[in-house]
């Protein structure tokens, strides 16, 4: 129950997320993904300026991935830059499904 259970890159994004959708924000839903095994799910939204936000029933690992995803899009990163960012999170093998969810959301959101 503390920061020392998580890598700094995960803990920082989980403890101070920047891109959680605010309560009354005017947005459209872009994409959603879920993983039954861990009962996690995530939704991406875009506002009128095409800034991405997220919400989710998410572990700290998935929160960090969603933060990385929104950060990458909102500063104009391409897919290869996103890939570098996601790799820097150093997700352990049991959390690789978060990476798969990020890829799924990215592709679906770009096509939305």
């Amino acid at each position: 129950m503390s920061a020392d259970l998580y890598p700094p890159a995960i803990w920082e994004r989980f403890s101070q997320p920047c891109w959680v959708l605010a309560e009354n924000a005017d947005v459209r839903e872009l994409a959603r993904a879920s993983t039954p095994a861990s009962a996690e799910m995530a939704v991406l939204y875009a506002d009128a300026q095409n800034q991405w936000f997220w919400r989710g029933h998410a572990s700290p690992w998935l929160v960090a991935v969603l933060e990385a995803l929104c950060t990458a899009h909102n500063r104009g990163d391409d897919e290869s830059a996103l890939c570098v960012t996601l790799n820097s999170l150093e997700l352990p093998p049991v959390k690789r499904y978060c990476r798969a969810m990020a890829d799924e959301l990215w592709q679906a959101a770009l096509q939305a």
């Binding site: 129950m1 403890s15 009962a39 996690e40 939704v43 989710g56 029933h57 700290p60 352990p92």
Partner: protein, 382 residues
């Protein structure tokens, strides 16, 4: 850090600390109570007095108390030792699914060796009805088990009624009383063949416990440990004198203060529940107020992810409905047996209180939980 995990382990009571201080002093006593010289005989006398005092707390005879390393060993000795002794009398056990792992795992071990196990399902409140025990007991049954207080939910078994059902079928009942002594009245009622106790659950250090084993009518067990023949040959090993005396001192203090302490803890528990319930809609209380020990409050928090809940509560020492936080979490089998999904069981917290818990702890814990849960719920998808 706010410590609300007394069902896991407790801070030392002053009474136990004084005993330990005597033993770790440079000129403190150290003799082996099995030795025949004067210091050994003196230590044996002190252990005998402790045995008498401890037995008196539960209405047992001193010779019916075996000192162990804790409740896990006591449970293993009661179950595996009973199975070894009674294997020619029958090969069936009756056990609720919500027992502690220290009961479940030796029973599973026996099941793997061909023993038949009647696993009892709990009712909604989390305990098994005495009638369910009565229905499952038969001539093949050589032991039934029932924990007096569930370690996760605090729910109480009606031990008197279960013991009566067992007595009628002439089957000894083993009671895991690790969470009960010092919290509820604990007596060796007719029908109870054995009972296990833990030191560190009531203010003694870890590493000491006891097994009550009925002598009249005798409940036969075979030893699991062999060596010096201590404890009537049923539990060999040099007695841990300091821990035994500290355990007894803590147990006496816990039992003597039990009624007043339970009233105090009950008020604190209800204050925490009221505060959380008012601030956070939809909470689920696992167990019922009137059928649980006052030292445990187990709550499920729908609408939050369990791992995030545990991660975010950085200032609070509580237990969760999950056994693991880094890899894939294994949710509580006790909460799942109450019908909870894995997700909901994972998003559950056990708050447990003890002799050092004060009102300020409750207020601060409530503040932190409310802040964290509101924050996590604001992350839920629309």
């Amino acid at each position: 850090m706010i410590y609300l995990d007394h069902a896991a382990t407790t801070p030392l009571r002053e009474e136990a600390r004084r005993v330990l201080a005597e033993f770790i002093a440079p000129d403190g006593p150290f003799a082996n109570p099995s030795s025949q010289h004067a210091p050994g005989r003196e230590m044996a006398m002190r252990v005998a007095c402790a045995r008498e005092e401890f037995a008196g707390l539960i209405g047992a005879e001193p010779a019916e108390i075996l000192w162990t390393s804790g409740a896990t060993e006591a449970n293993n000795l009661a179950i595996l030792g009973r199975a070894r002794f009674a294997r020619d009398l029958g090969r069936k056990l009756v056990v609720p699914r919500t027992e502690h792992k220290a009961v479940i795992d030796p029973v599973r071990h026996l099941a793997g060796q061909g023993w038949k196990v009647a696993w009892l399902n709990p009712a909604a409140a989390g305990v098994c009805a005495p009638a369910d025990f009565a229905d499952a007991l038969d001539s093949e049954t050589v032991l039934a088990c029932a924990m007096q207080v569930n370690n996760e939910t605090g729910q109480r078994h009606d031990i008197a009624a279960v013991a009566e059902a067992c007595a009628e079928k002439d089957v000894p009942l083993h009671v895991d009383a690790a969470q009960a002594l010092g919290k509820l009245p604990v007596h060796v009622l007719a029908g109870i063949g054995s009972m296990s106790f833990s030191g560190h659950k009531l203010g003694a250090p870890p590493g000491v416990g006891a097994l009550y084993l009925r002598s009249r009518p005798r409940v036969g067990i075979e030893p699991l440990l062999f060596g010096g023949g201590q404890e009537r040959g049923l539990r060999s090993g040099t007695l841990a004198s300091a821990q035994i005396l500290a355990f007894t001192a803590a147990a006496v203090a816990a039992v003597e203060s039990r009624e007043a302490e339970q009233q105090r803890l009950s008020k604190l528990r209800e204050a925490l529940w009221q505060r959380l319930q008012e601030a956070l809609p939809g909470l689920i209380r696992n167990g019922t107020r009137n059928e649980s020990s006052a030292h445990v409050l187990n709550i499920s928090f729908p609408g939050v992810h369990g791992e995030s809940l545990r991660a975010a509560l950085s200032g609070l020492a509580v237990s969760s409905g999950s056994a693991c936080s880094s890899a894939q979490a294994e949710s509580s089998y006790v909460l799942r047996s109450l019908g909870h999904s894995d997700d909901l069981a994972n998003a559950s917290l056990r708050f447990s209180f003890g002799h050092t818990t004060v009102e300020k702890d409750i207020q601060n814990a409530a503040d932190e939980v409310i802040t964290v849960v509101k924050r996590l719920r604001s992350w839920e998808p629309r």
